[in-house]
Symmetry: D2
Subunit: 368 residues, 4 copies
């Protein structure tokens, strides 16, 4: 494959540029019989959609997805599911001025070095606009995992710039534009973002994603460990520069006695591993964290070069999120859903009929 | 594939358990004409080999690799390269006592949940012993990249438990058993490890790997971004729980003006991106960091369960590294080499004859 | 992958049912810089299109393809090419009567055994309607191969029922609705087809496809021999039951002295091998033949069963080609183009810079 | 992948040249719990082994296979199975004389055009010696299919040169060196082969392979139709130039009323389709035929060129089968077993829990 397909058995192949005619995808390998409508996909697409708050880009992208195949009489047939979103709000004029320049920290220079030629409008293929199709496909996987196993996938913003965010109230996550589960911090977030916009600057963020109700035994050692696939999927999201499973980089200073998750017949006594050991799920919650760099498109001038090989200063106009991390929450959920779905099918292929030697213990031991 | 092949065009497929008859691998897709001998592979295998210091396991594994095919008259033919290491020092008796128990933080429980049945000797397939074949294959990729492009890949220990390590003297890395480029810290490392062994405990570590002399334009957006593949490859190494590219999680608190790597005709002015933007190499050094958890095999008793579903305490005997991170250095180098090699071939397939619009600028601007 | 993607580096992924909303495809891996417009695809689509003669189905399918991405300013960018054909003429009522029946020799029964549930309208995914997307994608490959190497791919009808057809006049192929290069037989073909329609029956056919101007060295032994991939691609076309390369089944009775293609510095003295030896192209013309079964949809009643497990007689109404083999000509050309394109890229990946020991000899020796 | 791996979920990756140190393979994706010993593999290896009759090469190849991993306490563990056969009888001197020449109909010229350099000893990688590993891996698949589903795979010689062979007595197939199920023809076969050897010539053959006890619903439309994968697998065998499913090329002259396999609740009334419709198994016997070209290695001189680009006559010495088709029988069985095994797992992945609308009907209707 040449890079635009994700997965082995449950596969997502996408196309589309930021300012092209449309975004599209083909989801192949979905088991037959799943009840599916466009509304199932639209819900997550709306969570990702820009323009929902004054802190995200004001571009209007209705992002209305159509299911073109693979669903008959309201259920998936097992044949490929074609998805399409026609592009509407395309202000190419906003971008024409940078056709010949390489904006610092953008993919402009790298794309030209690779392809020799690029669609510069709105970043073309390198635009985060592409992630709409990941969210649509992820919604299919989420629905299958929830209905078949009761697996739930929830992401939230765990840090924005200097502001660390816990998740004491998960029920709050979907009630604010920050996907924040720490309501007491909402005012601070709002003030920080307002100040950031005044500075004409951007900032990084950390997003956490959890999967609960997990099934043990998913993952394909040694190279396709499920944590390796999660790392692949997460790092494939625009702007992501780091991925952690469970305690992540905190394990560097941990002792063996501290890190290991002890077990009893009532369940695991801790979850430092983030639900994955040896590249295989244990049945504990899967815990993932990702780091997203600050938006590259800012109006503060920066030093760069142009297509003619001359030095110049670049100012990026247009409408951009000052913190791309916020809208990355539903995208990260979608990528985790795609990984779990693919490994559900891969595990099923090889291991049907093999009885575990003991029934799985609970993911967590009851709190005493 | 069912998990034991890495790569798309330059592929590594491996087999072998810790205490099986042999470890083996097939490297497919190596271009013809590369001068290759077993000595080229043995050098890196010896760097990984245990028993080289009092701080690593005292198991004796000569790890002598044989090339069984794909090389004729001293050069690769383009046909698959078969590699074999016969196992010698197999003390199964050390392990028989844990045949029925699930050691906390080991893959025992997860493997039984997945396969229903496992080779428990020395961890079987989940043992780090498997990584010997990664190192052997990585040595082939390293040699091709060095001879064809002048690309060099070097890893070093950047943190051991609480001890942070810089790399002021790269020439020192290969002169000590810690792969440490910070000679002033060697005494502290030695003392820390001695104390750790007294405690019968283990500790985590951080390893850094750099690729220099890079070529711009490698990587296959959107899902096979080269940083996504690096994350996959690194997270597939035993005990790894986190991966960072460039500034990694530090980007969370960075502003856009701070993070972006500005460019001039003389080169890039910084390298926060770690040499990868938009999932494509820029020609700057590729900078990767990984976090490794503390060794799970420690002699301090831990709570667990057995195959019969009973609670019990587990003590892991046998000969283990108190810090698996140390010997992970050549393994991480090998995995980075495999990713770069695969993407070199993938880029070559699609982009031959496409002239970049401008000659690449230097990876770094000359220091003023 | 779950079956709807063809190729490793130049990949075609398709979706769409006969009577769904649309047919679509994603072509990934096309090198950047190829001049491409919808007209380039439409030409071959029109050759496949039904309703062009009284001997093919009278369904009206404008089959107008749109390119939705991957092309900018008239050239491919190297990013995925999205293709879409909206379905227009959907007479579902023609098919509703067989919703619960398994038409003999159709995929109805097999699909229900596999998926438990199917889109029965016009055969759903199993309809030859799907091949429109193969033809569109094949046109891209054909154009790249022609412009880059001068490779030409031409198919023709080499047998229809009992009527064997040579190709004495290739220039005639595109001048008649039979893709027949044997003009003297056109009257016989017309009479045979007229009689067949009176009988309310259908008949099989043989199609030949040749690629000229070939490059030696393409193909990936041992499993991805280029002849093996051609066999795969051809047998994936609806109704194909046999594939031959070069002399095909005639080799069974040949002696070694008779079959071997001798070589001189002026070229090969024969082409029994069909341009492929050891799974690698020799530079000779690639010669392929396929056998297509008679159309299953005929109005003569046949014995079958229904969804309720009862015996019944089935009559297939609707509008069908009495010989599917005729319209298979452009489809077979497209599949051969996809195989050659994929192997061109695969060869390029591994073998760049390797100089052949001698310049290739001509595909054929000059006629003396 | 670069050509030396077959399969998606049950994968075979092989290495080894005719006169290298060893042949090896990795079988990945075998479900855990299958009882497996080296004897299970050796049985089929011995059927393929040369030197078993005066009509096959007299090379002595004990072909003793070792299982190096993936089996513990007599059962597969689900981890990769490493296989190794050390080469013993290597008479390189027999071949050194053709180091610089391109034998007509051999892969010599094509390999040099592809790789620029080759291991010429005994044909190197292009030698049929490589197929030993296919047979060993196929034996694993055969055993799983037989024990899990009762599927049996049997091949036989259906034509040798001009001598057409039926299979009136399948029990005779394993009792003669021709894999012939038509005992009355054994004398004719013996005389023909003796005459052929006197002529210092070779001849082609046709081999048939049948799978009985099939399960309906296997196959992945549209590109991975199971017949397409069978065609791929069969055409990847050395010397194969044609593949047929069911009636194969006979369908060209069949009418629709004649070809279609009618169904009743008691079963199918015929099997022209060879057990596959729409690329999916119907539960009928799978019927495959392949055409194998005459051995290229004959001692009758032929015109060719050498590495220096000069015309010359070539005589191929060494020990060769005058009819490679005979020993292809177990190889063809193995390839069919690999295809069925892979599709068994692929089907299982996607379709678990989907109940067919009706219980499958018998593969064949009882004879009345």
């Amino acid at each position: 494959m040449s890079g635009n397909t994700y997965g082995r058995l449950f596969t997502l192949t996408t196309f589309g540029e930021s300012h092209g005619k449309a975004l599209g995808a083909i989801v192949d390998g979905c088991p037959p019989g799943l009840a599916l409508t466009e509304a199932d996909l639209q819900a997550d697409l709306n969570r990702r959609k820009p323009g929902t708050s004054k802190h995200t880009t004001q571009r209007r992208e209705p992002d209305e997805v159509r299911i073109l195949s693979g669903v008959f009489e309201g259920r998936t047939t097992g044949t490929p599911i074609g998805l399409l979103i026609e592009n509407t709000d395309q202000r190419s004029k906003d971008y024409s001025n940078i056709a010949d320049t390489y904006r610092p920290a953008h993919a402009d220079y790298a794309y030209d070095q690779k392809y020799g030629f690029r669609d510069y409008r709105g970043g073309g293929r390198s635009s985060a606009r592409e992630t709409a199709m990941r969210v649509a496909a992820g919604a299919i996987a989420k629905k299958y995992l929830a209905e078949t196993f009761g697996i739930r996938i929830q992401g939230f913003l765990s840090q924005l710039g200097p502001i660390k965010l816990g998740c004491p109230d998960p029920s709050a996550i979907e009630t604010n534009a920050f996907f924040c589960g720490d309501p007491e911090q909402l005012v601070a977030l709002d003030e920080y973002m307002t100040q950031l916009r005044r500075e004409e600057n951007s900032v990084g963020a950390e997003v956490s994603v959890h999967a609960t109700g997990m099934i043990p035994g998913w993952g394909e050692p040694i190279f396709d460990r499920i944590d390796a696939e999660i790392a692949h999927a997460m790092m494939s999201i625009n702007a992501v520069k780091g991925v952690e499973i469970g305690d992540g980089f905190d394990v560097v200073t941990q002792k063996g006695t501290e890190h290991r998750d002890e077990m009893t017949t009532e369940g695991f006594l801790s979850n430092h591993a983030g639900g994955i050991v040896g590249g295989i799920t244990t049945g504990q919650d899967v815990l993932v964290r990702i780091a997203l760099k600050p938006t590259s498109s800012i109006t503060t001038p920066g030093r760069s070069i142009n297509r003619q090989g001359e030095n110049m200063d670049v100012v990026t106009k247009g409408r951009h999120d000052p913190c791309v991390g916020i809208r990355a929450v539903p995208i990260a959920e979608a990528m985790l859903a795609l990984v779990l779905m693919d490994h559900c099918l891969r595990h099923r292929a090889q291991n049907q009929g093999v009885v575990p030697p003991i029934p799985p213990i609970p993911g967590q031991a009851p709190v005493k």
